[in-house]
Amino acid sequence: MQRRLVIAILVACAVLPIAFQALGQRQVYWLFVISEFYVFAIVAISLDLLMGRSGQISLGQSGFVALGAYTAAILNQRFNVDLPLGMLAGAATAAVASLVLGFPATRLRGHYLGIVTLGFGIAIDQIALKWDALTGGDQGIHLHRPALFGVDAGTPVRMYYVALVALVVAVLLVRGLTQTRIGRAFAAIKDSEVAAAAMGVPVARTKVLAFIVSAFLAGAAGGIYAFLAGFVAPEDFGIESSLLFFAMVVIGGMGSIPGAIGGAVVVDAVKNAAATVSGLSLALLGGMIVLVVLFFPGGLKGLLRTRRIRRERRPAPKGVVRQDA
């Protein structure tokens, strides 16, 4: 049943450009918007892997997206590097940067991480603005028309498929990871570091690994975004966008890939619908986050899965009388 739904959605996404032919040139805009959404969904999935799956908060995810985007853009501008290589280089750069953050992060108590990643996001922004010889400062970098193995990929339809395939691959990779050893270790350290260590999970190394994988994905998304938009500038990767990714994960329901994608849909919709009034989308998303945490801890994912029994029972609290004392 659910399997069929997934395939149906996938087929619908794949044939969408054909349906959009009817829109004539309007499809240029719509395909761009949906492609952009696919890329954001990859970032949401990457953040969900880190926050929802391994329990580490990040408020600077767009810092990794920025690193990926700038790496791809700079390589493209200077050396004419095309899309696949630019994307991988972006992903690698973000992963390396995450090492710098990740090592101290493992030694920090949970909430420090939120603050340190927040600082990372701000710093990337400031450096991109300052180091204009490399990044073009606030005037950003224009990329050449994207190419895939020598074939022009610059049409809206082709970039649409690039983004769609990237999203599907990201979903499959993350799904594969969460269903095998390392993914289970991520969940284990989120639930109980002590028990995870007792089961043989190296806690610090696994946390750093989660950080690296998450940054790699976010960086790859950044690389694709640079080619999709044809332009990167520091303003696009500020705290505001980190908060949007954060909202996607929380509203969608942490620890679930469909949740992250659903969250991305909701956040994107709210952002666009509420754009006319200053502060409205921020207030709506903030309010939704509060409501979700208070009343629907499972987020969208939890709302849609009403059939399942609610997991309310918790293990007996500390200090409860033992059977024999």
Binding site: A188, G200, Q323
Partner: protein, 258 residues
């Protein structure tokens, strides 16, 4: 064969375990008893590398246990359960067991790519975990969330998760605490079977229960070994009666574990 010599654990000024010697043979069930705050859980924590040790040596076969990082205790053959079942609520019952197999597996990030090697290993691990689940009659609930199970089953799963890696030394911290009469027999059978294959060191208060299964027991108080022997001989030991059966001083219940 576990050999602990002069193991000492300190918390600030408090000496929780004081120069303790302990020998555990290769097979059988061995018990740690003593009043609350005697340092039993702390000893288990020290042996499983959860808490830092101030002095002493611990050898398991040829391995210097205290030199290992916490997560390496399992691959050295030491697995443990927890006083309050410390399960992973966001994983299913089966996945909880698979985490217990973490150190026996190699698959890294390649799991994301579903390489043939990682798939073969994953299938083997699942088969192994499923066998244990079937033995313990948890097969039906393998895809449930641990929190949805009755507490007795959670404790059982906690023990099974330690067992699944087939350790040389199994450390159990009050496995029967919180269990109902109806739930206990299954766990008892499971521990008994484990004792056939490896050494089980368990903390337990229930004297009659121990008489049935434990070969030897070590009595601890104030972080020290007070007495050692078979359960039968312990019944009459005056030291044990004084401090364990509670005809002595008053104690505060708030003494913390580790």
């Amino acid at each position: 064969m576990l050999e602990a010599r002069g193991v000492t654990v300190r918390f600030g000024g408090l000496v929780a375990v004081n120069a303790l010697d302990l020998d555990v043979p290769d097979r059988g069930i061995f018990a740690l008893v003593g009043p609350n705050g005697a340092g039993k859980t702390t000893l288990i924590n020290a042996l499983s590398r959860v808490c830092p040790v101030a002095g002493g040596t611990v050898r398991l076969g040829d391995v210097d246990v205290l030199s290992l990082p916490p997560h390496a205790a399992v691959s050295a053959g030491i697995a443990r359960s927890f006083q309050r079942a410390e399960l992973f609520p966001s994983l299913t019952v089966l996945e909880n067991l698979l985490v217990g197999l973490h150190s026996t597996m190699q698959t890294g990030l390649s799991g994301a790519l579903m390489t043939p090697a990682s798939r073969t290993e994953e299938q083997a691990a699942r088969a192994r975990a499923e066998r244990v689940l079937r033995d313990l009659d948890l097969w039906e609930v393998r895809n449930a969330a641990p929190a949805d199970m009755p507490y007795g089953h959670q404790k059982l799963l906690d023990v099974a998760r330690a067992l699944v890696s087939e350790p040389a030394l199994l450390l159990l911290d009050e496995p029967f605490a919180g269990l109902t009469e109806a739930e206990a027999p299954r766990l008892l059978a499971c521990i008994r079977a484990a004792g056939e294959r490896c050494a089980v060191l368990m903390i337990e208060h229930h004297f009659e229960l121990l008489e049935g299964i434990a070969q030897r027991m070590t009595v601890m108080d104030f972080g020290q070994k007070v007495s050692e022997g078979t359960p039968a001989s312990m019944r009459t030991d005056p030291e044990v009666i004084r401090c364990y059966l509670g005809t002595g001083r008053h104690r505060t219940a708030a003494a913390s574990a580790c």
